[in-house]
């Protein structure tokens, strides 16, 4: 009773700030026995200041206010979405962390706001978004106030899920969010957390929409224990639903039954009603459970392929020169215009003149091309290509690159694991199709009901790992010593040649250490002899003649005057 009262109070205040909240879950059995579930928690508010709110997460509102953010997308993903067999997801996100933001048009110092935003979000979500700098983010070619970055190396785990759940009005105690147990979420083959904030403006009046999304893909064979394709909410999430969130206007579960034709299954509960014939809708208001028994647990026929999908890989061998190939498959019967955005990190310098675009093996010229060369440690290589994809064709974009040799402290720990290269982005407007799900409206129900013929998709390609050649990390002192020795090898003799003169000497040549030992010996002997005053013997001294004192004799070589005198005496 008490809870209901408080809930009522909140709803009342919420309405005062004109905020609304909805919880939705979209479930779609995918081909090859996977089940896709997409959670969406939508908050819409009309006030553009985020100082006071009841449903809108205050911590996020502060950040949005402070950094003049007008649009924000954050995705934290683990695993790879397989477009070819799974179709399109509701939110396409590459593996790792991805963030993009648009700031208010009048923002002066966009970069500073961008770094401030990423740092704040890294604190809010416990991610490494603070590693974002100019060397891994880019500014859109069209908008000055737009920034994008991805961190493919980011590991998404429990520490991100917990703070993310705190943004929800009902936390994870009630409603659909009680399905999100970290143990189960991270058991999924693919999971992606998202925060999507954007303004919805209509005739000068704006609403602000915040969608908190989770995409999960479970392998139904793996979760069913008895090697069949049956799935249920409890098997996937570890629990059924006990209570809905009282703050939500409604909570609904949608089940896409279109695959029932190829893989028949029976559902434990009759839906409340159907949308567009094959989307079963369940209105939630209390305890709820749903399970499906798949009647033919055999090899599942693959669904219709999506119209547009991509492939990306590196070519070449060794760690000197390589190539980067992005393939775009158009399975549609008419041409599609697509924009491909490659953002390649600075340690993979690409050669623009080797850029080759082929369609079914025939070289074509792209409709539009923007290239911004990167710069070491400062800026990525940005390549934007607008292409017209011929009907039923494979378009291949290939470019060559060099492997860069980094400074030894720039390698990450476990350097031989390699460097992650983020995904390319392919944007295209494609016609509505059997595998398509549009998610451009706020609520899933509106999206299902929408009746456009074309819609925009944004595909993210695979990431890849590249192992750059490494130095020997244990060598710094040795290298410094050896290289300096070689320099000294030149400096010593040249110093001698330029500052000293050649002279003749009769002193015996004693190499290195022996000469030091001899000098010491002579010195010690001198000291001992000098102590014994009676003995006046001197240590033998070798005379070095200055050439002015000598004259040259063709037979005897250099001779001193004394020597000549002696000689003359002898002769006499």
């Amino acid at each position: 009773m008490n809870v209901k009262c408080i809930g009522f109070l909140f709803v009342f205040i919420g309405q005062a700030y004109s905020e609304s909240y909805n919880e939705e879950l979209f479930i779609k059995p995918l081909a090859t026995g996977y089940v896709y579930s997409f959670f969406q928690f939508t908050i819409i508010r009309e006030d553009d200041s985020f100082k006071h709110s009841t449903l809108f997460p205050h911590s996020l509102g502060d950040i949005i206010d402070r950094f003049h953010v007008s649009e924000l997308d954050v995705d934290l993903t683990s695993g790879l979405w397989r477009h070819k067999s799974w179709g399109y997801p509701a939110v396409d996100a590459p593996s790792g962390a991805e963030i993009s933001a648009r700031f208010h048009n009048d923002t002066q110092d966009v970069d500073q706001h961008w770094y401030g935003l990423t740092n704040a979000l890294s604190g809010l979500l416990c991610t490494s978004l603070n590693f974002i700098n100019s060397a891994n983010s880019y500014e859109s070619s069209a908008h000055r106030v737009y920034r994008y970055s991805n961190l493919p190396r980011e590991n998404v785990c429990t520490e991100n899920l917990t703070p993310w759940k705190k943004l929800l009005p009902c936390d994870s105690t009630r409603g659909l969010s009680s399905f999100l147990n970290s143990g189960r979420v991270h058991n999924a083959n693919y999971h992606s957390l998202g925060i999507h904030f954007r303004p919805l403006c209509n005739a000068g009046k704006c609403k602000y929409e915040l969608r908190l999304t989770v995409s999960l893909v479970y392998d139904s064979v793996f979760i069913s224990f008895n090697n069949n394709y049956d799935w249920s909410l409890r098997k996937m999430f570890g629990t059924g639903l006990f209570m809905t969130c009282p703050l939500a206007d409604y909570s609904k579960i949608y089940l896409d039954t279109s695959s029932n034709i190829s893989v028949p299954y029976s559902i434990s509960q009759e839906p409340d009603y159907f949308l567009k014939k094959n989307i079963a809708v369940y209105n939630l208001n209390g305890i709820f459970h749903l399970s499906a028994i798949v009647s033919r647990p055999k090899i599942v026929v693959s669904e219709l392929r999506p119209l547009l999908y991509t492939d990306r890989f590196i070519t070449g061998f060794g760690q000197e020169y390589g190539g980067l190939v992005t393939r775009i498959y158009n399975d549609h019967r008419s041409p599609i215009t697509a924009t491909v955005i490659e953002n390649i990190p600075w340690f993979l310098p690409i050669y623009y003149h080797t850029l080759k675009v082929t369609s079914n093996g025939i070289r074509v010229t792209p409709k539009g091309l923007i290239y911004k060369p990167g710069k070491g440690r400062v800026r990525i290589y940005y390549l934007e290509i607008v292409l017209e994809l011929a009907p039923r064709s494979v378009t291949e974009i290939s470019v060559q690159f060099d492997y860069v040799f980094l400074k030894w402290q720039e390698y990450p720990p476990d350097a031989n694991h390699g460097f992650y290269i983020g995904s390319a982005i392919v944007k295209a407007t494609i016609p509505r199709h059997a595998t398509s799900l549009t998610f451009d409206k706020s609520l899933i129900v509106d999206n299902i009901n929408s009746t456009g013929s074309d819609y925009l998709i944004c595909l993210k390609t695979e990431n890849f790992i590249i192992t750059l050649p490494t130095p020997d990390f244990s060598m710094p002192y040795n290298v410094i010593c050896l290289a300096c020795t070689v320099v000294a090898l030149a400096f010593g003799p040249i110093h001698n040649i330029t500052t000293k003169r050649l002279k003749l000497t009769t002193a015996k040549y004693v190499p290195g250490l022996a000469s030091i030992a001899q000098k010491l010996y002579v010195l010690l002997k001198n000291i001992i002899w000098n102590r014994n005053k009676n003995n006046k013997r001197k240590a033998a001294k070798v005379k070095v003649f200055a050439h002015e004192e000598l004259s040259y004799h063709p037979r005897l070589g250099h001779v001193s005057e004394e020597f000549m005198k002696d000689k003359v005496d002898c002769i006499k």
Binding site: E320, V486, L504
Partner: protein, 430 residues
Amino acid sequence: MEKLLFFVYSIGILIRIYLSFSDFSTSIADRVEVSTPLNSWKRVIEGVSLYNENINPYDGDLFHETPLALVFFSHLTSTLSDFYVSLVFIACDLITAFVLYYTSKIYTENLLKQQTKTKHVYNKKSKLLIPDDFSVINPFYVCSVYMLNPYTVFSCIARTTTVFNNLFLALCLYSMVKRHRLLGCLSLVLASLPTFYTFGLLAPLMISCASNDSKNKTGSFIITFLTCGTISCSLLYLCYTIMNEWTFLDSVYGFILNVRDLKPNIGLFWYFFTEMFEHFRALFVCAFQLNASVLYVIPLSIRLRHDPLLLATSLLSLTAVFKSYPSIGDVGFYLSLLPIHRHLFYFMQQAFIVSCFFVGCTVFAPTVWHLWIYSRSANANFYFGVTLAFATTQIFLITDLLFAYIKREFALKHGMKRMINGKKARLMLD
């Protein structure tokens, strides 16, 4: 002798043409010893294609030639097909060999002239005397070393811009022995604008130009210096007018001086600055760059002031060892200058060791590179070891040559016999 020379020339040309149009050319051009970030043709093409697309090539990290070179190469590649571009490189090498031939000829003739003035002093059988046939044989050797040395051949086939650089350097040396100030200054500036280090050759150029008029040496020094300064300033300004901004300075000279690209080459910089602790980096960059550019210029100019060409040779070879992005094209160039100083060979002691090491390093470098980069069974230390050995060998060669010079100088003054009062004596530096 003319027939032999013609023979060597044609062999040199045939080798170059054959390799340029064979499949070897790309694999040679990809070698790190041949193409460095500063001289590789691939990067020139990249710069030119960016320039033609109206993208500033100096925004990127790949192009490091001067704007003058950029415009030149842009015209070259747009007017000539790939085949003719190769021929241009071969032709440049031929001209360089010719210029070096005449340089050597004039220099040896000058030496002989000087010798006849003082001939009456020497013993006729003395080994110090330069025989008359040197003026024929030396140029032939110089020319054939340049034409047939694999280092220069590879550099030409890989179409490195070192080929053009060598041409300007050869012209500079030629004008030194000809004592032609303007040509000397112009070629010196053209050679050192893209590579920076060779500006040290200003010293021998100043000395040789000053030896023309014995009255006012300081004046002559200043005139040469100012000529070079004016030409380089005006060329830099010309570069500015091409690009309309000064960013190329950082892309060319900042890149050379800060050693931003740590791709291995035959020099000492790459591994040293890969393994450098960040807070010592500035100190060692300064120390190494000073060592490569100006440290030896003044002392050697004072010591070798009577022989500007030897001074130039030793400065060129020292920079080829110590510069930040050396290639074997540079090594090949100074090696072909050695026969000019054949009268010093009698006093050189380490020729055998040095030549063995040259061969050894040339074989080992690609081998350990393959082991490191492709089969991944070796690591960076192996290649570093080879480059260290190569640098040491070259240093031995240079110091041996310099020692030979001062020994000959000594022997000219004091005779060949190393005896004092009838006893055997030895030479020492004191």
